[in-house]
Symmetry: D2
Subunit: 356 residues, 4 copies
C-alpha cells in the first residue's frame, strides 16, 4: 500500500500534538480524528506498556495513516508539543500536568482528574487523594456549548465525561429557562460498551454483554457528582438528579432519556430548544415528533436532541444521542483544541455519521 499523503506532509506552522495514554479507545479515537486534521501534526504518543511498538500494530485501521511508535511518557518529548491530550485513567494526568504547564504546554485532559471543583468531593468518589489540588480551580470545564469563552483562554481543559455531556446538553435549555423542578431530575441513560474502555474483562466479553441489557451503578456512578455540579452551575442553584446508566450491546453511542417536571406549563418546548441551539455547530434539535437514534451520530461529533411532553401532562421527556467516543470524549477534546488555537471550531470534525 502506498502511504497516504497525510503521513508524509508536515508544515512548521502546524499544531504539535502529544497524546499520553494512546492504547485505549479515546486514544485511538483521537488519532483517527487527528490524522485527518489539516492543522495538526501528531508529534508523540505514549504508552508505558507498549513503548516501542507501532501504533498501527494495535489499531489496524491506522495502517498507512500513521507511522508513529508508542514512546515512554517522557516529559521532554511532551514539552516540545503545543498541546498534550491525556487519554488516561483518572489519577495519571494529576501527576504530569504541572510540569507540562510550566513548560508552556496547553493541556486537554480527557480523564476525570480536573472535572470536579470540590477536591473533597473528587476524593470521596474516586477513593484517593487528589495529586494536584492547586490546579483544580484553574481548570476549565470543556463543554463548548456552555463554556466556550473560558475554553478560549484556558491553559488546562477538563473534558466532560461522556454521560455528563449528553445529560447537560439535554437539560440545559430547561434549566436556563428555569421552568422545571430542579429537585426532581431523572437521567435514564444507556451507553455502548466502548465506554467501559479497552480492558480485558469477563462482563464485557461479546459472549456476556451482547444480546442483553442491564442497568449498573445505580447506587452511585462517578459521573453523578460531575453531572450534578454542571446542572447546578447552569440552574444557578442546587439540583437533585437520579442517574441510572445502562449497558447497551453496541460499540458506540449514548442515549440519555431525561425526565423533568414542568413548573411552567405554557412554554413552547420545541421553540425553546431550537432557539437555544440555533448557532451551535454540533447540536441538532430534531423536528417535533422525530426520535434521535445513536447510529445517526456514530463516528461523528454531533449531538441530536428531541423534546416531548407526553399526553400534554407536566412531565417533559428529552432524548439526547451522542457518540460517547467523539462528542463524549475525543471529538469534544478536538473541538476544545480548535477553540483554544483560534481555528474554526468544526475543523476536522465535520464528517457525517457512518450510517448504515
Amino acid at each position: 500500500m502506498a502511504r497516504s499523503r497525510n503521513v508524509l506532509e508536515s508544515r512548521n506552522t502546524m499544531i504539535k500534538v502529544g497524546i499520553v495514554g494512546g492504547t485505549g479507545y479515546t486514544g485511538v479515537e483521537l488519532l483517527r480524528l487527528l490524522v485527518l486534521h489539516p492543522e495538526v501534526e501528531i508529534a508523540a504518543i505514549t504508552s508505558r506498556q507498549e513503548a516501542g511498538r507501532a501504533v498501527a500494530d494495535i489499531f489496524p485501521n491506522l495502517r498507512g495513516h500513521l507511522d508513529l511508535v508508542f514512546s515512554e511518557p517522557d516529559v521532554e518529548r511532551l514539552a516540545a508539543c503545543d498541546v498534550v491530550f491525556f487519554a488516561t485513567p483518572h489519577g495519571v494526568a494529576q501527576t504530569s500536568v504541572p510540569a507540562l504547564l510550566e513548560r508552556g504546554v496547553k493541556i486537554i485532559d480527557l480523564s476525570a482528574d480536573f472535572r470536579i471543583r470540590s477536591v473533597p468531593l473528587w476524593e470521596r468518589w474516586y477513593g484517593q487523594p487528589h495529586g494536584c489540588p492547586e490546579l483544580v480551580k484553574e481548570a476549565v470545564y470543556g463543554l463548548p456549548e456552555w463554556n466556550r469563552e473560558h475554553i478560549r483562554e484556558a491553559r488546562l481543559i477538563a473534558c466532560p465525561g461522556c454521560y455528563p455531556t449528553s445529560v447537560l446538553l439535554g437539560f440545559l435549555p430547561l434549566l436556563e429557562a428555569g421552568i422545571v423542578d430542579t429537585g426532581d431530575l431523572i437521567a435514564s441513560a444507556a451507553s455502548g460498551v466502548s465506554g467501559a474502555g479497552r480492558q480485558a474483562s469477563i462482563p464485557n466479553l461479546l459472549a456476556e454483554a451482547s444480546d442483553s441489557f442491564k442497568a449498573y451503578g445505580v447506587s452511585g456512578h462517578r459521573h453523578l457528582p460531575e453531572i450534578e455540579q454542571g446542572l447546578a452551575d447552569i440552574a444557578g442553584g442546587e439540583v437533585a438528579l437520579t442517574f441510572v446508566p445502562h449497558l447497551l450491546p453496541i460499540i458506540r453511542g449514548i442515549h440519555s432519556t431525561l425526565y423533568a417536571t414542568l413548573t411552567d406549563a405554557d412554554v413552547d418546548l420545541q421553540a425553546l430548544y431550537e432557539q437555544r441551539y440555533r448557532d451551535e455547530p454540533f447540536v441538532d434539535v430534531l423536528p417535533a415528533g422525530e426520535y434521535p437514534q445513536t447510529r445517526s451520530v456514530r463516528g461523528s461529533n454531533y449531538v441530536r436532541i428531541a423534546v416531548q411532553r407526553p399526553q400534554n401532562r407536566r412531565k417533559v421527556v428529552v432524548m439526547v444521542v451522542e457518540d460517547n467516543l467523539v462528542k463524549g470524549a475525543s471529538g469534544q477534546a478536538v473541538q476544545s483544541m480548535n477553540i483554544l488555537f483560534g481555528l474554526p471550531e468544526t475543523l476536522g470534525l465535520d464528517a457525517p455519521a457512518l450510517l448504515p
Copy 2:
C-alpha cells in the same frame, strides 16, 4: 433424522390445543413451549396466508418436533379443541371468540382485544370499533401474580402485553404498600426487536436497528392505557404514568427501569419485594445490589427484579427483566393455561434461561 418421541405419542387425556395465527413470533414461541409440554397435544394451527404449508418449513427449529401443517382458520376444527390461543394482531380474536366460547372452548387471547375494560378507551387507542364489546367485561386479565384466582375460573383470558407485564410486576409491591406518589410514576423501558413482530419493515432490518438505540412512541404507545388501568387497579385509585419505550438491538428481552417517589421513607424496600414474591414461581427478587440482565431470562418464563434507592433519597428505582416472548407473551399464556386446567403452574415452563 429420526422423529422425536414427542411427535408420536399422544394420550387421550391430553389437553387439545389450537393456535390461531401461528406465523408470528408469539405463535412460534407457543409451539416451542407446547411441543415439550407433557399434557398438551397441538391439534390445530391456523394461518390464512400459509394454509397447507408445513409449520417446520417456516420455523426450522421445529423440524422433527412437529408434523403439523398450517390450516385455514376453521371454526369446526378449532371447536374440537379444549383451548384456543389467539396469537393474532388486534381485531382478529374479537370476531372469532364468541362462536368458540359458545362451543365450550376456553380462550387465551395474546392480543390486545380484551385487555382494556373501557370499550371507548380501547376504540380510541386502537382506532377501530370493538367487534365484541359484550365479552370485554367477562375477560380476565391474565397476570397470575395479581389475578391467579380469577384465571382459574375464566372462560376468556386476556394475556397482558409485554411491557405491561414488566411494569405492573415492578410497581406492584410499591402500590400495594401505598408508599409512593401515584401521580408521578415513570417507566423507562426497552424491548428487543421481536416485540415488533415478524413483519417485513425497513426500520427493523438488521442494517437499520442493530448497533443503535432509540426511544419511540413517547407521544402515545398503546400499552400506556393498559398499564395505567393495571396500576390503578393495584393502587385502588387514579395513577399517572410517563411511559417511554425504547428499541434494543437484541432479539428478545424487555428491561423496564421504573421510577417512583417514596411517600414513606422508612420502608425496607428489599424486604418488601422479597416478601411479596416469596411464593411466586416465576418472579425472582435479586439480592440487594445485584442488577438484572435480560439474558438471565432469555427463553425462560422468569422475571427478575431489583430495587434500589440511590443516595438514600426519595426516589426508588426498580429494574425488571423478562423475555418479551415468554413471560411477556406465550409463556405467560401457557402459565394461564396450566392454572385454568388445574395443572402445576410451572409445567412445561421450568427450563432455565439460555446463557450465555
Copy 3:
C-alpha cells in the same frame, strides 16, 4: 421466588453426576441441560477459584434451579459420583482421571486430553508432555453417530471438539461412500465467540469482536490433527484437510462450509445424506435447496446439514450447523452419558432450538 421442584426432588436411583471445572461455558451449559434431566442428580461441581460461592451467583440463569456451591476439586467427593464430566482446559483431566477410574467412576472428558490417539502428535500440538499416556488408547471418541457401540462400553469418553463434530458429520457420508478426493478436503468454518471460553481477553470484548469477522489459526489450529484423525478413521486411509476457522460476532453456533472434489460424478448426494442419517435422532438433513442457519440449532443438540453441487460441477459443498456449546460440547457429552447408562439417547436433550 418459590424453588422449582427439580431442586428439591432426588431419587436414589438417579445418576449421581460430578462436574469438574464448572465456571466456563461448557460447565454452565452442562448444568443448564442437567437440571432438567429426569434421571440425573448433580452431586458436585468443582472450581478451585470459586470454591464456596453459589453457582447461581455466577450464572444468574440458574437462580432457583440449583442450590449447589462450588467445591474444591476433591477426589473423595467426586469418587462418590457415578460419572464425572471434565469441563476443564486441556491438561487437567489427565491428572485426575486415573484415580477416579480406579474408584469405578465413569469419565466424560470435554477437553482435548484424550481425543488424539497419537501421544507424540498430542504433545506437539498442545506443547506439553501428556500426563496420562497409558489411558489414551482406551479412551473412546464420543461421536455417537460414528462410534455409538464403543461409547456404550466405555469407561473413559473423549468428547469431540466443537469444530471436529461439525466437520466430521459433514464429510462422513462422502468418505464412507468413497466418492471424493481425500487428498483435497477443505473446511471453511465459523464459530461464535463462546467457543473461545469465558476468559477475560481484549480481542473477545464486545467492542472488539462485534460488528466484525476474521479468520484465525490458519497456520495451525489444534482441532486440525483431531479432525484429520477422525476423517482418516472414516475414510480408512490418509486424508489432507485445509482447515480455516473464523470468528463470528454471535454467542453460539458453528457453521462449517465443506468443499470436496467428487471422484464419482453420478452419485445422488441428497439421497446419500438422507439415507446415512435417517435413524439419527440429532442429525437433520435439510430438503434439497435449503440452507442451514446457526439459529435453527441455538441452544439445542441438533445438527442440520445441507449438501449442494453448484453448477453441477465436480465440487461438492456441504453446510453444517451446530450449537458449539451443545452438540459441539455439553449436549454431546450428555448424549454419550445417556448411551453409557442405557437411557434413551435423547433424554433431556429434545428441546427445540430457541428461535427467534
Copy 4:
C-alpha cells in the same frame, strides 16, 4: 444547529454530480463520501418514490450536511451534471444511460447493467433482455487496481460488485503469476446485511438475521459470472470458481476466504502480494501471520489482504476484507470518478476506518 460550511460553499470549477436512485445504501454512502469531497458539488439526487422529500429526512446522519430534496429522475436536470452515478437496481441504468452519454455526461454505474461483456450471459443470469446491449462493449470495468488506464479514458464505467472486488483483488497476484490451478478456485465469502439493500424483508430483520450465520446462493449467485469473467481476464484463460456467499450478522463488511492449489511450490507468497500492491493506495497487504478483520476497513475505502500456506502444503489461503458499501460500491465509484477527472485518486477517500 448551524449549517456546516460545506453546505454553503460551492465553486464554479467543481464537478457537478448527479445521483440516480439515492434512497438505497449505496446512494446514502455516495452522499456521505461526496459531501466531504473538496471538488464535488452534488447537483441532483433522484428518487421516483421520495421525490419532494428532503434527503436528510430519510438519512438522519446527513442532517446539516446536505440541503437537497429528492427529485424526479429528469434527464434535463441530470444532463446538466458532469457525471451521474447510478445507484439503482439492475435494469434501470440501461434505459437512461444512452441519453445522458449523448449529452456528454460521464456515467458511473454501480449496478450490474454493464459489468458482463456477454449479453446472452447477462440475460440468462438476470432473467430479462438487456435494454442497451450496444453500450456493453464500451463500458469499462471500474476496478482501478486492474484497469486504471482504461478508467481514465472511459465515458461509461461499470463498477464491480462487492463480492467480485474482494475476490478479484485476492486472486489477482496468484493469477498474474500463473502459479495456481485455475480449474479449481474456491471463494468462501461472507457479507454484512447492508449488501442485501434497504428493502423491507423478513429474512433480513434484526430478529431473523442477527445472532445467526448461513450460506446462501450456492446453487448460483449473480456475482459468479462476473467474478469468473474477471478471473479469466486476469488469468488469460478459462477458470472455474466455486463461490459460496454467506450472510454475516453485521451491517458492513465482506470477508472473502480464497482457496487455490499451487502449481509452483517455490514461490514466496508474501513477497508476491507485497510487490503487486506496493503502489496501490487502497490495498494493504498485512504482515505475514496477521489476519484481516472487517472492522479494520469499516467505513473506509481500504482493502486488507493476508496470504498463508497452511502446513506448507499445496493449498494457498488468501483472506480479503473490504467495506462492501465503500470499496465494494460507492467508495470505488468515487475512486473511479477521481481517476476520470484527473484528481488525486485518494481525494475524499482517505479517512481511516471507524474502529472500534
